[in-house]
Symmetry: C2
Subunit: 409 residues, 2 copies
């Protein structure tokens, strides 16, 4: 077992790290205890129905056979990843003989504050353990029965695998005031990750003295350049808007180069209308798109619709598209469709976002799709973690300096 605070990698051993057996044991235990887990989840669901939770909240709360198996599989995927703590990030010698290494170490203790989804209990725990951290879990009160049994199963498996039970802590009280206390324990907690609505996240940011890393708002744009393959542009626009409109990496704003507006706008507006997407267009979009386009208000270009709606605007150049995105977007995920490599390069360099795409749907900004394993969310902050946050974002670094008695003159 690693020390829970700032341990150093063991250069030998399994490349997947010392926590692999524990993660596999939790995975097995979830499958074995599936019936109990579903039973306890049903208690939460029943209470939720009586309390009048919305269908979408009930859906997020619900566990199914499949969802439990997915949690178990997620843990096996994380277990199979190379140990993030095995990385010596850099190393060099100094002329005076000092040997310097920069190594990756756990942050220490991570607090997760989340809402209805009980799978976060398992997913977050998996990433925290893999990266050598202890985790404090504070789930929503709607899911308290589900989370209790999940934590019980997790801790039981952890202990059997030889890790301390205290590496996973569950805050069972549903009293909301505990959150304020939790996020101010900066002597004991190294990072708070809130997962939930914008209001919850900003309340935590306001209260916290512990550093906060959070999932960012996604106001994503697609720019269709004058040299775009229009068939590809259509496919990417429809995918980015429609495939799952309620998520952060869905497109909210479509920018079209003036040179192709006459050809592309009628076509894309028709296809969007077929899919029941409301288009809020500027005057040129209205002119080209006809009656299917409703007039855009200025605020539409600053709106994360999270549904079958989008804002659309004609721009005169790649520079204008870049300027619009940097001014109105949320620096999350933005795409250009173009066959011109030079234009693409300009866009990739100029757009100040966590991920910038060339001829790819923005929907690919996701830890799994990028090949990082599961993710803790997508950060739009610039410090510490930007974009998809995986296990490496739960670590920090440390300098190790070895010598033979050197002193400074």
């Amino acid at each position: 077992m690693r020390p829970s605070q700032g341990g150093q990698p063991d250069p030998g051993g399994d490349p997947r790290g010392t926590t692999q057996p524990a993660l596999l044991a939790i995975s097995d235990a979830l499958e074995k205890n599936k019936a109990d887990i579903l039973f306890r989840n049903e208690i939460d669901l029943e209470a939720g129905r009586r309390a009048g939770l919305t269908p979408s909240l009930l859906d997020r709360l619900a566990l199914t056979d499949r969802r439990v198996m997915d949690m178990a599989k997620g843990l096996r995927d994380v277990a199979a990843f190379p140990d993030p703590l095995a990385d010596v990030l850099d190393g060099w010698d100094r002329p005076n003989g000092l040997k310097i290494q920069k190594v990756r170490v756990p942050l220490g203790v991570i607090a997760m504050i989340y809402e209805a989804r009980p799978n976060v209990t398992v997913d977050a725990t998996g990433l925290c353990i893999k990266s050598g951290n202890a985790v404090v879990l504070r789930g929503g009160k709607e899911a308290v029965d589900s989370n209790s049994i999940l934590v019980h199963v997790v801790k039981d498996a952890l202990v059997k695998a030889g890790l301390p039970a205290s590496s996973v802590q569950f805050v069972g009280t549903t009293d909301r005031s505990v959150i304020r206390d939790l996020v101010r324990l900066d002597r004991f907690i190294d990072l708070v990750i809130p997962r939930g609505g914008e209001e919850m996240v900003s309340a935590i940011r306001e209260m916290a003295t512990v550093p906060v890393l959070s999932h960012g708002r996604g106001l994503c744009s697609v720019f269709v350049d004058r040299e775009a393959d229009l068939e590809m542009a259509e496919r990417i626009v429809l995918n980015a808007k429609i495939q799952r409109p309620g998520v952060c990496n869905a497109m909210e704003t479509l920018l079209v180069d003036r040179d192709i507006a006459a050809e592309f706008i009628p076509r894309i507006v028709r296809r969007l209308a077929e899919k029941n997407v409301t288009v809020h267009g500027d005057s040129e979009t209205q002119k080209r798109g006809g009656g299917a386009v409703t007039p855009a208000l200025p605020a539409d270009f600053d709106t994360e619709f999270l549904g079958l709606e989008l804002a659309m605007k004609v721009v005169g150049s790649t520079d204008e598209a870049i300027a619009h995105i940097n001014a109105h977007g949320s620096h999350h995920s933005d795409a250009i469709v173009t066959t011109n490599e030079e234009t693409a390069r300009k866009f990739l360099a100029g757009v100040d976002s966590a991920a910038v795409f060339h001829n790819v749907s923005t929907r690919f900004h996701d830890g799994g799709e990028l090949g990082l394993g599961t993710e803790m969310g997508i950060s739009t902050q610039k410090l510490h973690a930007r974009g998809s946050m995986g296990m490496k974002e739960l670590t920090t670094t440390k300098y190790l300096i070895r010598g033979f008695g050197q002193v400074r003159e």
Copy 2:
């Protein structure tokens, strides 16, 4: 010129980056304008003397021929470093053909808030420009004349080298309320770096909505293990305490293994007394060290003396030393002296500090000594930057994803 916000590296070109000519031009201009700079500094010094500034504050405020030359040399050193923005940190392909890169990009706009030392104006500007950032400078009111001329010289050289004058902004007003406004401009400023006393830094942390990176407090310890080379231990202890006692990487606490206490303590106490160092010792240290040791209060082990004083304690094991350091230290720089590699490894792994040393004085935790070039300070935070902060800590990352029309199913 790079875009000031989130620009992408140009893979070709000079390995030292596109800002090298500007940095060299500023360096030359400082040397050329030395007389004017010293003249304006003398105005600040004269006002400071009239206002009754302490000699140490006047010393920090004072520029000399040598100090101006050192600033110019510092810029040349920074210019010679490899371009931090040229790094493609990672790159891989996905089975669906997506090509993914993680590149380093500037943070954007960095605000420096500092006190008397006018050299910060030049040092910070050099690191910010090298890393592709714009900088907003807010120096102390005692140094306003010196900073004005330095900024004038810097901007003039920048513009002649083809960079925009706006890449360096100077807040000339000495009104303190401007600091509060500045650190809340999170829409325009990406990072605030306060450089100054603990009180100033914590006030800024409290007010700021912009992320803050700051130099941390240094309560550093040296542990002399039972298998230490005692001659080496003496040399390291004396260096870490005495060579420059007022700085953050000086030793404040000395821990000695019980097995060597009878031999080492009388010897080191005598040497420390010769150098006028007051030793606050626990009961065992008092017993071994005799009359030269004053009884330690519990608070002495939590005190950053920053002078010719230290706290000293006997411990029974390496584990006890590690536990003491993790509980009482400031997670900055700590050292072990031992000839036992296994004990050293345990200490390096177990001590949760930004830098951990084996048989080396803690005084080496410094950007220059570690070979990072000049530094912005030493962070004891765990997020984003830990330990010596150089030019790379002024950058963030960005995912670039290239494809040929991929959409998500």
